[in-house]
């Protein structure tokens, strides 16, 4: 992958309706002390679900960034769901934080010298869709990432 490619394709913000199935392949709560374990668990489940190498790498990066966002900006903890539909993997991370106010968050490359704001940019570039919505009771954030083969 070259940087030219990513710069040429700025991802669009989306707020699609979320429809997590009742039965998922992984439902895992996490906090700052379980980040390593979360990444390992996600990788193991995706491998079992038949993800190819490239898809697995994108999933590990995306799941990691979303979990870190929940820990740093979403109240210190969160919950990750993983499921598959045909060849596509879906990864959803929810938290109980103040929510993401800007629906366009992460649609442009942050200044490399600045210290924050890269997580959603990275996720948008590695997914076909990144849906950001507010939790059911108006609290927290739900981010759903679609990772095709």
């Amino acid at each position: 992958m070259s940087s030219g490619e990513t710069a040429a394709r700025p991802p669009q913000p989306r707020r699609a309706a979320l429809s997590r199935p009742d039965s998922v392949d992984l439902d895992q709560a996490f906090d700052i002390n379980s980040l390593h374990m979360l990444r390992r668990t996600v990788a193991a489940h995706a491998d079992r679900l038949g993800a190819n190498d490239d898809q697995l790498e994108r999933l590990i990066i995306v799941a990691g960034e979303l979990a870190i966002n929940a820990i740093r900006h979403g109240g210190g903890r969160g919950r990750l769901f993983l499921w598959r539909h045909e060849d596509t993997l879906f990864c959803e991370v929810s938290d109980q934080g103040p929510g993401i106010k800007d629906p366009t968050a992460g649609t442009s490359l942050p200044n490399p010298i600045s210290s924050d704001g890269r997580g959603l940019w990275i996720c948008r570039n590695l997914t076909s869709e990144l849906a950001i919505s507010t939790g059911p009771d108006g609290r927290g954030t739900i981010v759903q990432a679609t990772i095709p083969r």
């Binding site: 992958m1 070259s2 940087s3 030219g4 990513t6 710069a7 700052i32 980040l35 390593h36 990444r39 790498e57 994108r58 590990i60 990066i61 990691g64 960034e65 870190i68 740093r72 490359l109 942050p110 490399p112 010298i113 600045s114 210290s115 924050d116 890269r118 997580g119 940019w121 990275i122 570039n125 590695l126």
Partner: protein, 290 residues
Amino acid sequence: MTVPNVTDVVGPGDHACLTFTDGDERLDLVAAFVRDGLRAGHKVVCWTDAIDPDGLAVQLADRSVRPGAAMRRGQLRLSPVSDSLLGTGATTAAAMVDVLSDELDAAAKEGYPGLRITADMAWATRPVGGVDELIAFETKLADLFADGRLCLICQYDRERFDAVTLAFAAKAHPKTVAAQVYYEHPLLRICRQYSQPGIRIAGQLDYRQRDVLEQALSESLRLDRNPNVNLTRLDYIDGACAGVIVAAAMRLPRSRRMTVKCQRIVATVLDLVGAGTAPNLRVQVSHEQR
């Protein structure tokens, strides 16, 4: 914090103990020792044990120390410790001291101003060697260093030697050489790399260790003209830490360059945080997996 170069620590007349836990850390220090010796025009001898001579030659080449020409002209010799220091007869401390003394005489006759030897001491953990002889050997050596022509580094694997022997080894050697380690944890290790100069990070790296990453990088930027950031054994990096690396490269003046070697997953994150926009940063994807 200062990070002395291997050459700053050991030189002619020195008898030093190199302790290590990570195989790469040992090879880095041995490569720097060989490189510095060849540059100084000294004869260099490596007595190997855990790694065979051919394996060591490959590892030296991987660290930008090309052993071929020096070996052909006789300036560098890589040989198993069992064929050299330990000899073919009984392994006694006195016999080993004689081997070293003969090496020193031979180097002088060949016209070398000095002799650098490094020996893997792993043999002493096997019944055939014996820790008793090792201890006697290390203490009897003192006279050989008197005229300042010999420099000897004995390598001790912390995993293979018991604490008592390691404590003795530290005492028997006037100097100690060890890699600078910035962070040590079963899931993450950040240490200095001596050849090629820079830092090496293994394991998984995220924002929680961002401060120590910044410290290691800024030290490398201060010490190394063209810093090498070896991430070949790093399995995961988050955007925050990838951003720290790219930002460090962007601060370099035009005449300097940072080279990052990493797995594809790490290259992907570096690329997404702007590695391609840093003119002084070169990212090389390595296919070596853990």
